[in-house]
Amino acid sequence: MPSALQDALRAPAFIRRLFSQFPLVTHPVDPPPMCVEDFQPSATRQHSINHTLYSFTDSTDSSIASFNPTCLKWQTYLKIRNIPFKTQPSNNHASPSGSLPFLTISSQSDRTSQIIPSPKLAKWIEEHAVGSVNTVDTDDGDYRAFSSLVEGAVRDAWLYALYIDPENLSSLTIPKYTAQISLWPISQILGSQMRQAAIDAIRKSSTSTLPTATDIYERAIEAFSALSILLSGDTWFFGASEAGMFDAEVFAYTHLLLNLEIGGSGREVVEGLRGFGNLVEHEERIRRRWF
């Protein structure tokens, strides 16, 4: 008795009437997404900028310096190696690896985009950029020793001045890093989280249990003095004939220390840095040429 069963299971008439109204409208199928390049003749396509560096920055113009030393280092190095790119203001949540910067590259041929996180950037640049005349070996002992000085003493002073010093934290760091979410309690909470992270980072790298700002700044100035001696009268570090990775690394800190309006206890390290004329000139040389 299938008909009886069907009758029993049949929806009431008014519901059937209601459901028969759907779909109300059927839209036409969307075409696959197109990009600007599709409308351009292939000759100009070659020159369009397809690379985007996602970093902590205020602008999409790649000649505006990022306010984060690591981002600025890669931004500078990409510029030094003549790779055209634009920057994109971003934050950690955007990054697949959780840290900025990263570069997205889209190739013209198959229109796929690829993400290069910062640890792989050096290799990518080496493979894709025009060869550089800077032949400084990044595996060299001196290179690594001085690099650890920048990543140690100089970075600690930067962290203290920008994240732990309350004056700069509220006037520089919080407004810059939380520009996209400038809602009152959130920016303050993020600020205190960043501050705690900076304290932990300094504690980890310090050999003393009770580090103080005075020690941190003294060590940074000692580091700048060592870098100044290393640079001596040369144009670029390690006597190279063209700027390289190490120049970008030093510039990332010297540029930000000299050009952000750092107040509070941070003035001590900025004044210390100004005492090394050749480092200030080195900063100016890169800034004038690429920014």
Binding site: G141, L149, I202, K204, T209, L210, D215, I216, S265
Partner: protein, 408 residues
Amino acid sequence: MSPIELHVWNRAFGLPSLDPECLAAIAFLSSAIPQDLWVLVESNNAGVSPNGSLPALKDGSQWIGGFDAIVSHLNSKSAGGSDIDRSLTGLQKAQSVAYRSFIRKTCLPITSLSLYVTSKNWINVTRPLYSTFLQFPIQYEIPHTHHARAIALTAHLTSLIRDIAAEESRPLQPVSTAFAGITTTTDKSIPQEKEKITTRVRLRNLLADFLDPINEKLAGQSYFFGGASPTTIDCLLVGYLSLLLVPDLPSPWAKEILQNEFSDIVGYADNLKSACFTQDITYGTPDENDKLTLISWTKRTIEESPRSWGVSDEIPLNQEGHKARSTAFWVAVQGVIGLAATIGSVVAYKALTTEGKVDVELKEEVAGTEVYSTVRGAVGDVEGTGASNNGAEEGRLPIFRAEDMLGL
């Protein structure tokens, strides 16, 4: 003039100290100033140091904490007379600063991994070592702090640590897999062997990160910058290297890799070690105030507790700031305790002196059963008031009387 005192962590493994920075300071003092001008004090009391870590130097009434500060203090004190870097060029001095930072950054995780984080070494050697020179409650706290710091320093090596642990537990594995793979035992040993090799290669790479640049720089010379005598950087290097080379550990990967693949460095470290850690180091005893006693340890632990609880984690401008913060915290704690005690005593006083409450409670019990009447009798003077109010208060819940609440 009393000799300068160098306060360090205890001797261990046949070395004068168990800490690389302390070893470096010992090496520096023995190469920079005459033996009769300083004594080595194994105070084990990090509380004496202004920066909270050993080594610390006591020069008269002045305290200097940390290797770098000790070096610059002695250099300025002797007006360059004891400056073992005086023959270096400007660039070499700059390199010395850079390599100091490089050695600490790359080698500290390795020594921590070898002595504290490789669990076999920590359980069998390093952990028991602390019990030999520290007294009862302290012998649990100090090694724990050192272990925690070592874990933090090696946080980026987690997968390697897991591999080392897996390799260590290998001898147990044949027992558990014996039933599962009687026929395939020979096959099984091959991937295990392979795994052991990859762990070894990764450890080798870790060591090479640190040692290759040093090897390159040494190039067979007996000192880092050539010359005829050690410089500051040699002292720091011998401190770190001897902790990798000297201890006999149950999991001796660091020693084995060094001896197999970096024989030049081993030779360099051995020479320096015998020159710097001589047998004729004079040992001194700490002053009463500088000793690590239960009282001084407790005092310091309490002082530092706001920081270790994460209540006031802060990096102040200078050393006074640390003390000030700790004091401020304890003043606040005392204030809160004081306030709570005051309120508590007022409440208690009111509660005890308000008659109604006390006798109503008694009466309730009395109203319940007759058994309590004997107890009531023992209470004495309460009996009278309780009995007289008995009828009037019946049927009310006595504790929640609104007027009693207002009476406070």
